[in-house]
Subunit: 366 residues, 2 copies
C-alpha cells in the first residue's frame, strides 16, 4: 500500500486515461484534430498517455513548455499564448527543429516576427469571441486584414487560421449557459471562416475549452480542439456540471496535524503552496479551497460534502468539518483534497504520484 | 543592463539587506534572539545575507525545508509547524545532526514523539493567541499541563517554551490595530510565562509576525522573534502600513504581449503560476493581484497607482491601466509587478535574479 507522509499530488491513471480516451473519441467522431493543451499536466510521462490515444499534435502555453515537450519527442506544437517577441531567439531555435505554430493578435508582434524569424512558423490569429482577455475582437475585420496583409508574401509566416480560447464558458452557471456561449463562439468563428475562405481556402478554426468540449456535440466549422483541464478535471468543472466526481483524476493527499473540535476545525499540512489560493463559493456561501474526498490509503479519512478546506496559509490548510465527519480526523490521518483548479495545483507539485505507486516527473520551473 | 525576456522574480539585494539589518538591530536593541523565518525566500544564498547580519538560528515551516537549510550549514532550526508525525524518520535523521526544535500542540503527536524519537529535540508548545489556526488556546491550561507532564522525565523531549504565530495582525486595518493585537498577544504570553516560570525557569517566549515586529517597540517577556516576510515585504504589508513602497525588495518582471486600448487593458506574460492568486481589495474596491511599479530596465514601463493587475489566468495577467499610463504599454515592454504576497510569489519562482544580474538558487519542490 502507498505510504504518503507529506502533501502529495496523487493521480488515478485509469481515470485520467479514461478522460483522454473519451475526448479522443469525441474528436474522432466529429472529425476534429485533437490537439490537447499540455499546460494542465506539464509532464512528458503523461504526454505518453495521450500518444497512446493517437495524439500527435499538442498545445502549450509558453516557449519554455514548447521546448520541454520538443525535447520529449513532440514535433507539432502550438504555443497558444500571444507571442512574446522578447523570446525570438528561443522561438527561432524551436522553429528550426519542429513544426511550430504561434499566436498573433497585434501588428507590432507580427511585424517583429516578420523581420526576425529565421525559420518557417505557422501563424494563428487569435480571436476574442467574448472572454475579454487576449485576441482580436471578432468584429475588428480591419485589424484581421492588416495582420493577413503582413503575412502575404512572407517566406516564414504561414497563415494557418483563427484560434479562440472561449474561456467565457468557465463563468457559466449551467450546462445550458455553456451551450449558449459555445454556440455564440461557433457562430462568430464560422462567419470569419466564411469571410476569408475564398482567399485562404486552407484556413482552420481552432477552438477548445474543457467545458464546451466536454458537454457539447456541436463543432460545426471547427477543425481542431484544444482542451486541457479534462485530463484531471476538478471541483470547478464539477460545479459547472461538466464532470462527475468520479471523473476527477487528481487529488492532493495531506496529513492531519491538528484538531480543534470546539470549532469543528482541523489543520492539515497542505497550504497555498500546494493547493493554490483558487477558490469557489460553495453551497454554504463560503470560500472553498477544496473539498475532502474519501481517501483509500491506510489512515485515510472519509468525509462528506459538509467538509471542506475553508482557509489556507502558506503550508497550513484549515478544514471545516461537518458534524458527521469529525471523528474521522485523527492526528496522522490522511485527507484527500479535491482541488478547485487542478491546473494550478498540478503546477505547484514537484512531481506526481500515481495510485499504483509510480512517480511521475514533470517540467521543472526555470 | 539586465536582459529579461520572461516572468522573472527580481530582487533588490540592497533593499533586502537593509530590511535584514533593521530587523537585526531591533532584535539587538530589545535583547531578543533573532530567529528569522526562512519560508519566505527558501534560499541558501539569501540565508547568507542573514548570516552576515549575525543570524545563527532560523525558523522554517517544514521538515523538507529544515533538511535543505541543514545541508547548507544551519545547525539550529525551529520547524514552526505542528509536528507532522508521519515524518518521524526524517525528523530523527535531522535531530541526529543539528539542534532541532519542534512545535507541539496536541497529546497524540507528543506521545508519538516520546515513543519514537531517537535523538534529543527541543519542544515548543504552540499557543493560539487569537489567530484561530493551530495551537493550544491560551486559556486551556489543563491541556498545557498535560503536554508538560508528558515531557517530564523524557530523555529526548526538552521543553523550550511557548511559541505563537500572531497572524491576527495580518487582518488589522491600521498600525493602531496591529499594536492592540500585538499587545493582547504579549499579555497572554506573559501570563503563561509567569504561571510556569517557577517549574520551568528557563522557558522562553517566541513570537513573531512581520507586522508587529516591524512596527512595535514593545516585546516585554518575549525572548525570540521569528518574522519572515520583512526580507522582501509586499503590497499586503504596505496596505497594512507596515512598510513603505521603497522597502519592498522583490518584484515580478513581466513582458507585455497584448494591448486592448478600448478597455484600458493590457495583457502580460505572467499569471497565477508566477504571482499566485492572492489578492487585496484596492482603493477602487476591486480585486488587485499586484500593482505596476516603475521598471528601470530597458523598455521598462512606469506606472502610477491607478494601474494594477486586475485578473490572472494560468500564464496571462490582465493589467487595468490608468489613463495617464496607457501610452507606456508597448508590446515587448517590461512591467514590474509588486506582488501582493511575496512569500507565495517567491515560492512559485524556480530561481531569483538580483538587479545586479546575480542568479540566486533556491530550494526546489520535491
Amino acid at each position: 500500500m502507498l505510504k504518503i507522509n507529506k502533501p502529495t499530488f496523487l493521480i488515478d491513471k485509469a481515470i485520467c486515461q479514461g478522460n483522454i480516451q473519451r475526448m479522443a473519441e469525441k474528436a474522432g467522431k466529429h472529425k476534429l484534430r485533437f490537439r490537447p493543451h499540455f499546460k494542465t499536466h506539464q509532464s512528458a510521462a503523461i504526454g505518453e498517455w495521450f500518444r497512446e490515444a493517437g495524439v500527435s499534435a499538442i498545445t502549450v502555453s509558453s516557449v519554455s513548455m514548447a521546448a520541454y515537450f520538443a525535447r520529449h519527442g513532440w514535433d507539432d506544437i502550438t504555443i497558444a499564448f500571444p507571442v512574446n517577441i522578447l523570446e525570438i531567439n528561443h522561438i527561432n531555435e524551436l522553429a528550426e527543429k519542429i513544426t511550430l505554430n504561434l499566436l498573433v493578435e497585434n501588428v507590432a508582434a507580427l511585424t517583429m516576427l516578420r523581420k526576425n524569424l529565421t525559420h518557417k512558423v505557422g501563424i494563428f490569429i487569435e480571436i476574442d469571441t467574448g472572454y475579454l482577455r487576449s485576441g482580436v475582437e471578432v468584429n475588428r475585420i480591419n485589424q484581421v486584414d492588416e495582420l493577413l496583409s503582413l503575412m502575404r508574401g512572407s517566406r516564414q509566416l504561414e497563415f494557418r487560421g483563427f484560434l479562440s480560447h472561449t474561456g467565457q464558458t468557465y463563468s457559466a452557471r449551467s450546462i445550458e449557459e455553456i451551450m449558449v456561449r459555445h454556440a455564440d463562439a461557433l457562430m462568430k468563428m464560422r462567419s470569419l471562416k466564411e469571410h476569408y475562405h475564398f482567399n485562404w481556402p486552407n484556413l482552420e478554426i481552432s477552438l477548445g475549452d474543457t467545458p464546451a468540449c466536454s458537454v457539447s456535440d456541436r463543432f460545426d466549422s471547427v477543425d481542431e480542439i484544444r482542451p486541457g483541464n479534462f485530463v484531471f478535471y476538478d471541483l470547478m468543472q464539477e460545479q459547472l456540471g461538466v464532470c462527475e466526481r468520479e471523473d476527477i483524476g487528481a487529488k492532493l493527499v495531506c496529513p492531519v496535524v491538528s484538531r480543534h473540535l470546539s470549532r469543528n476545525e482541523f489543520i492539515i499540512y497542505g497550504g497555498a503552496v500546494h493547493l493554490s489560493k483558487e477558490f469557489i463559493i460553495n453551497q454554504f456561501a463560503k470560500r472553498c479551497y477544496g473539498v475532502v474526498g474519501n481517501c483509500n490509503l491506510e489512515n485515510g479519512i472519509r468525509a462528506g460534502e459538509e467538509t471542506w478546506v475553508s482557509g489556507l496559509s502558506q503550508e497550513h490548510g484549515i478544514i471545516r468539518a461537518g458534524f458527521e465527519d469529525i471523528r474521522e480526523f485523527k492526528i496522522g490521518g490522511l485527507t484527500e483534497i479535491i482541488p478547485v483548479h487542478s491546473c494550478l495545483t498540478a503546477d505547484l507539485a514537484g512531481y506526481y504520484l500515481t495510485t499504483t505507486g509510480e512517480r511521475i516527473e514533470k517540467m521543472q520551473k526555470n
